[in-house]
């Protein structure tokens, strides 16, 4: 995998050039104010054994923006998001080509430590998957293994801060030692978000974070995503087009492994360029 991409790195560097630090004017959702690009994907192809799942995908993730990935089932949006923190490495038969950079460094490069990468690019999964440990331990685990906080007061603070930011602290403050799996589905998902932000990632990837939740829990998580945007760069895969419209500033529409359209959310939902996008968002297929 690395062999394929090494050539790409140098090529990408030239192309990316200097504009990595465009001043951020990210105050208002929807405006086209240029934000610095944190992650850049170019010509990404993904293969599962011989089957190609993604074809030449180019996407940028802008700082403090939410980028939504939409598309019908099996279109490759989850596959793509899992490339961004190299989660696909776990799958033996999966092969990724092309280049993906984080702050202009190729994340598939030889000099990148994948463990550190995953700490910088956190992930929240489709099904809430808290560890079968206490609520406290769920959040404290990341900071502990990365040595981000000393045991005791400091770690307690990190846990509380993360739970607060995930909007969960008030609900669980009196039962931090109970198993994380005893929480409701929505709480579990927010616990997973707290777990992800406890290691202060720069980018958070969310793979259909609300698909297993009821509408009320979904609303809470959506609200949370909007708040988190202030501190993080977020990419979210969703099946729910209203959700994409509500929470994101940029939307990418995938179809059959191809990136059909990648635009500001407003643009996609009001005036899509491609007929397929038009059909999908109006519910004619998918």
């Amino acid at each position: 995998m690395t062999d394929d991409t090494d050539g790409m790195v140098s090529l990408m560097m030239e192309e990316a050039g200097a504009p990595a630090a465009v001043p951020a004017a990210a105050d208002d959702a929807g405006t086209e104010a240029p934000a610095p690009i944190r992650m850049r994907a170019r010509d990404v192809n993904v293969f599962y054994a011989d089957k190609q799942a993604l074809f030449d995908v180019d996407i940028d993730l802008a700082q403090n923006k939410v980028t939504a990935l939409i598309g019908p089932s099996g279109c490759g949006k989850s596959t793509f998001i899992r490339c961004l923190n190299r989660m696909n490495d776990i799958i033996d038969i999966c092969r990724v080509t092309g280049s993906i950079t984080l702050d202009d460094r190729d994340i598939y490069g030889r000099d990148i430590d994948v463990v550190q990468l995953r700490a910088r690019v956190g992930m929240v999964f489709q099904k809430p998957n808290p560890f079968p440990k206490s609520i406290y331990e769920n959040v404290a685990y990341g900071p502990r293994i990365h040595g981000l906080a000393r045991k005791g007061r400091e770690l307690d603070d990190v846990v509380e801060h993360s739970l607060r930011r995930a909007g969960l602290f008030d609900e669980v403050s009196d039962r931090l030692q109970q198993p994380g799996t005893s929480l409701s589905g929505g709480q579990q998902q927010r616990l997973c978000i707290a777990r992800a932000i406890a290691i202060s990632p720069e980018v958070i990837l969310m793979d259909e974070p609300c698909s297993a939740l009821d509408p009320i829990a979904t609303a809470k998580v959506e609200e949370l995503i909007d708040e988190l945007r202030e501190h993080y760069t977020i990419a979210i895969v969703t099946h729910n087009m209203q959700q994409a419209a509500r929470v994101s500033q940029f939307t990418a529409f995938f179809h059959l492994g191809e990136l059909v359209e990648f635009e500001a959310t407003e643009q996609i939902f009001t005036n899509p360029h491609d007929q397929r996008t038009q059909d999908y968002i109006t519910g004619r297929f998918g």
Partner: protein
């Protein structure tokens, strides 16, 4: 689908008769299947009850032992020692003569040489060692007369416990009419007693059924399982973790996997041959020793444990792994912090079941010389020893009638250990199980 089926389908649920018939047929099929299941379980339980029942019926007399009381005059002259003998002197004194004199004294009317010899058959030949033990423990009884309870011979033991019938013709009996008469008079006088046979659990093997015990075999099995556990658990679990979590999936690991599965199915006697060739002939480890038995059983148990541990690891949901990788845990951290704790109950269960299989294994031990007749209890894994199942095999091979009950009793002890180990496996599984 076809035109013919169309009307039937259309009105199917309106046709009460048809519905009822179909329902009845379905219920009948369900009842029939349930009956088959119950019959199968009943047959299995029946055979189990038969097996255990027959073993218990055959084996329980072995837990009871007959003793006879003799008035023993600890005469220094008979013993061939001085008035105040030293410990060393007492060790070497003539206890055979003491025993003979004591037996003859109990039946003063018997004087003929031939009859006296028959008289001696009533007490175990091991009784003289009991006398020695008594005297070495308390030298002050030299010169006094004491009533001493001594182990009866196996023939008397069988007779008293009813294992040897009295109503068969005299020449087919081990004891003749006269000997039975002696025993009966002795019994009537209160000089014969049966009691719990604690010696059975602490003694080692012997040629005399009445004093043969499984203590040596238990110690041998213990050392052997210790060696096996100490080797298989770390090696097996490490191999399983590596193969399951870290090894690249390629032709070599595929081949290793296939071979592990094959090894698990290799007949155990083959492992015995391997052990003989490698550990004894090549490494010159002592023959008949638990260390070699343990090493051989390690080879035999390893595939089982690797397979059990791998399936336990595989059963850990991938979402836990993803969650851990997602917060930036390294592969080692994922395995040791998350996967292994969840797989522990399965791994422990697999290990204990592997150990239980090793405990019951006989064939490979025959190949490495653990069938030897060993009368000492092994003091360590390098001492010659035998193992429980081999002891059963040895006794089952013995011609003496007295060993029959020993075989069943040893089987009971072996089964008790196996049940205990499986119970521990269940307990550990419950204890370490993490629900989510």
């Amino acid at each position: 689908m076809t035109d013919l089926a169309e009307p039937r389908l259309a009105n199917a649920w309106q046709d009460a008769d048809w519905t009822k018939r179909r329902l009845r047929r379905r219920y009948r099929a369900e009842r029939r299947f349930k009956a088959y299941g119950i019959i199968a379980v009943a047959v299995a339980l029946g055979f189990l009850a038969l097996l255990i029942g027959s073993v218990i019926a055959e084996g329980y007399p072995a837990f009871v032992r007959t003793s006879v009381a003799l008035e023993v005059d600890f005469d220094p002259k008979v013993l061939g020692v001085g008035e105040a003998p030293s410990r060393d002197e007492l060790q070497k004194a003539n206890y055979g003569k003491l025993l003979r004199e004591s037996v003859f004294a109990a039946f003063p009317e018997v004087t003929a040489r031939k009859e006296r010899r028959k008289l001696l058959k009533l007490v175990s030949t091991a009784a003289r060692f009991e006398l020695r033990e008594l005297l070495v423990d308390d030298p002050s009884i030299v010169g006094t007369t004491q009533r001493v309870w001594l182990t009866a011979s196996s023939d008397v033991d069988m007779l008293i416990k009813g294992s040897a019938p009295r109503d068969v013709p005299e020449d087919e009996r081990r004891l003749d009419d006269q000997q039975i008469a002696w025993i009966d008079t002795f019994d009537a006088a209160g000089f014969v007693e049966t009691g719990f046979n604690g010696e059975f659990f602490v003694n080692a093997d012997s040629r005399e059924p009445e004093i043969a015990g499984i203590g040596g075999a238990i110690a041998g099995s213990f050392y052997m399982l210790l060696v096996t556990l100490v080797l298989t658990f770390p090696i097996g679990v490490t191999a399983a973790i590596y193969l399951e979590e870290f090894a690249p999936k390629n032709r070599i690991t595929d081949m290793i996997e296939v071979n592990i599965n094959n090894l698990a199915a290799v007949p155990s006697i083959v492992f015995g041959l391997l052990g003989l060739a490698v550990f004894i002939n090549l490494f010159h480890l002592p023959r008949s020793a638990p260390i070699v038995g343990g090493l051989t059983l390690t080879l035999m148990t390893l595939p089982t444990i690797i397979i059990a541990a791998r399936s336990a690891l595989k059963a850990v949901p991938p979402s836990i792994r993803e969650g851990a990788y997602g917060v930036g845990a390294s592969p080692i951290q994922v395995v040791f912090h998350h996967v292994l704790p969840l797989a522990t109950p399965g791994i422990l269960t697999g290990t204990i079941i592997g150990m239980a299989r090793a405990l019951g294994e006989t064939a490979p031990l025959l190949m490495i010389g653990m069938v030897a007749f060993i009368v000492d209890i092994p003091g360590g894994p390098f001492d010659p020893a035998t193992a429980l199942p081999v002891q059963i095999f040895l006794w089952a091979d013995s011609p003496e009638r007295g060993f029959v009950e020993k075989v069943s009793a040893a089987i009971l002890v072996l089964l008790a250990f196996l049940i205990l180990m499986n119970a521990v496996a269940i307990y550990l599984r419950r204890k370490f199980e993490i629900r989510w």
